[in-house]
Symmetry: C2
Subunit: 409 residues, 2 copies
């Protein structure tokens, strides 16, 4: 019998306990080459008591009891937040326990230190659930695609903001109302700052970039921007041009050794593979030199998909004890400044400006006008190839309401 401990019995920890109880037979079968008796939750660490829960007799508040129990080989850290999740993870690894987590904050902030301890102690530190919820993305990146030099990895990595943007687009709901709706449905937390500011996506793209490029990027060094400035008008104007607006985390190699890494709302042509990924779904696109383009898509959030990924890691630890290369801190040296990353732009233009001026400036490109627009009045929107062109428009009296990078396929 493989014995595990779950630290933090919130939505993810509770989901893990649920899966281990309900799919016990499936799991026993999956690990029977290593252990015939399946998986047992020996401890649950939480301040609450969970009376009536079938595992209520396993609840403890004492981490030392868990760490000193040699029967416990795997600790699930599902506490969330940086502290004491980081300290508890560190102690668990130092005690020779394998640790499985969904905590992207801890992984992105302390990954190098924790991976180094895991390597030293010859245990696994696993975090498939930290990016993309239930979507298998970390294992494909680190195992299946090892043959490839990865050109880019990017995607929609936050279900809350994708739900909000989808509602704004479909129903013309204002941002604040869409956010309230997401909170009511349990898709957004009471404090939604990490999601809507882009910070959550930023942590996740850093984790993917670290795994892909074998380095460590400090999330604080990476440009991020959220969706709080996106309006229904932006979405409607983009739609008229055949584009969708999504919050994307992006990482790609440029000029050999340099990397572009950022999080921002981007404009995607409606034919782009991730443009139609709506609601709470996430999608990750990976391009490798041999494999070409791959797309991974699924529910990016929610207790059960995330718990599914955690349990997948538990089974892998039992069967293979996977090791990850330790991420080396390369500082900012390999990161290209956000403002120097080249791309096209989707631009919303306000102010009183002669529509002919726009046409003259942008040549034959399509310009669309907002709902309440008259001939010579913005808001309007267009696509430009390079940001520099904007300055000339500003000189003519245009007000730039929004400029979003166009993410090419």
């Amino acid at each position: 019998m493989v014995k595990i401990a779950i630290m933090g019995m919130g939505v993810v920890g509770g989901g893990v306990a649920d899966i281990i109880l309900k799919n016990a037979d499936t799991l026993r079968n999956k690990i029977n080459s290593v252990d015939k008796d399946g998986i047992e939750v020996k401890y649950i660490m939480d301040r609450r008591t969970f009376e009536g829960h079938p595992l209520a007799d396993r609840v403890t508040g004492d981490i030392d009891k868990i760490l000193s129990d040699e029967e416990v080989s795997i600790v699930v850290e599902a506490m969330g937040g940086l502290h004491p999740a980081f300290e508890f993870t560190k102690r668990a690894l130092e005690s020779g326990k394998n640790v499985v987590t969904s905590n992207k904050a801890v992984v992105s902030a302390y990954g190098p230190e924790l991976l180094a301890i895991a390597a030293e102690k010859n245990v696994s530190y696993m975090f498939e659930a930290s990016v993309g919820g239930g979507i298998p993305i970390i294992r494909p990146l680190t195992n299946c695609l090892t043959a490839n030099k990865i050109k880019s990895v990017y995607g929609i990595l936050n279900g809350t903001t994708n739900y909000i943007l989808t509602e704004m687009k479909r129903n013309g709901t204002a941002f604040s109302d869409a956010l309230s709706d997401a909170q009511k449905k349990g898709y957004a937390e009471a404090d939604p700052t990490a999601d809507i500011s882009g910070a959550d996506t930023c942590r996740k793209i850093c984790i993917l970039a670290n795994l892909t490029y074998g380095i460590y990027i400090v999330p604080e060094d990476v440009y991020y921007e959220g969706i709080t400035e996106i309006t229904t008008e932006h979405l409607a104007l983009a739609d008229k041009l055949g584009y969708k607006i999504k919050l994307a985390g992006c990482a790609y190699a440029i000029d050999g050794d340099k990397l572009a890494v950022y999080t921002a709302p981007v404009a995607l042509h409606e034919d782009h593979s991730i443009a139609s990924v709506d609601g709470v779904y996430n999608a990750v696109s990976v391009t490798g030199d041999y494999v070409g383009d791959l797309l991974f898509c699924g529910q990016g959030a929610g207790a059960l998909p995330t718990a599914s990924a955690v349990v997948g890691d538990i089974v892998d630890v039992i069967k293979y004890k996977p090791s990850r290369n330790v991420w080396k801190n390369v500082g900012e040296s390999r990161l290209v400044d956000y403002n120097e990353i080249e791309s096209g732009y989707f631009v919303c233009i306000g102010g009183k400006i002669d529509a002919n001026d726009i046409t003259r400036e942008f040549g034959k490109v399509k310009v669309v006008l907002g709902e309440d627009s008259k001939a010579f009045v913005a808001p309007s929107a267009t696509l430009i190839q390079h940001k520099a062109k904007l300055e000339r428009l500003v000189n003519k009296g245009a007000e730039i309401l929004a400029d979003l990078r166009i993410l090419e396929a």
Copy 2:
């Protein structure tokens, strides 16, 4: 240094050799926790001599030389076909070599025997490349999703037929011309029978079903049907109803212990996640009880994506020596008869039939007429909920030109 042998230096075998030479540094880094020196191709088994190739001095026609060389730990079987690929694979496993292959014919026909030998000899038999080309699908199914009971796995598993259907739909190209075009571009083989008959897709869905449900399904027991009867008119009529036609391999659990497994052209609503997967791309949809719906998409054929998957398996063997549960032959007992699987249908109707009769028969459902149709003449098309309704139409003089299952999301 990990030493491998490649049996069969065709497109896939050549691609594997290419990746190992060109991405040597990347690969060395990936396996450095196990071996610091990377991977070397020690033997290539082929009848040709490959003069001028950087590995020409490794070519041999003698399998015994490979199997008796204790330095060789991994054999790549990229010969294609059943024989002697099966016999060589068996001998390699019996000699204690790990075997990695892209050969879906051998895996689907001899999987149980070969997996049993691998288990007995404590070596790995790996075949990520046998389904979906470069798309990581087998490892996600067997590792990442272990927490789940899988409700269904289905998808577009053959790039050749997807290319043909895409060309027929986009450009109105007739089947035979689209096939010739695919052959010219190298997307179809000189003898395209396995692809267009659905046999290739059938083998692949059997492999996925075996892995998903831990059983062995004999491909010969499974209903399959290809795309040779699909016309541009079917595609156009489906389009008018908002549907796309794709060749799909499908496996799903019904009524607890029963399985529906089949390969057939199906009608997919245009909003279905795999409906817009065109050209040589493949897509696999997986639904699990905890993870919900997942989609994996990428290039399903071609030397390099397939070779990428082979090399991913090689690295996994080096690092983890993965084991697979042996597939148990369950005969036909768990398979539901194809004709008893319930579904809706997209139906093309020919013959002289009163359009009012169709409307009366099907109630308020939409009926569309073909290009050259007049008021009372078919071909027309409609969607019905159950096949039984067709009989009544036939009784009224309707000729059923095509009836395709509707695959729901």
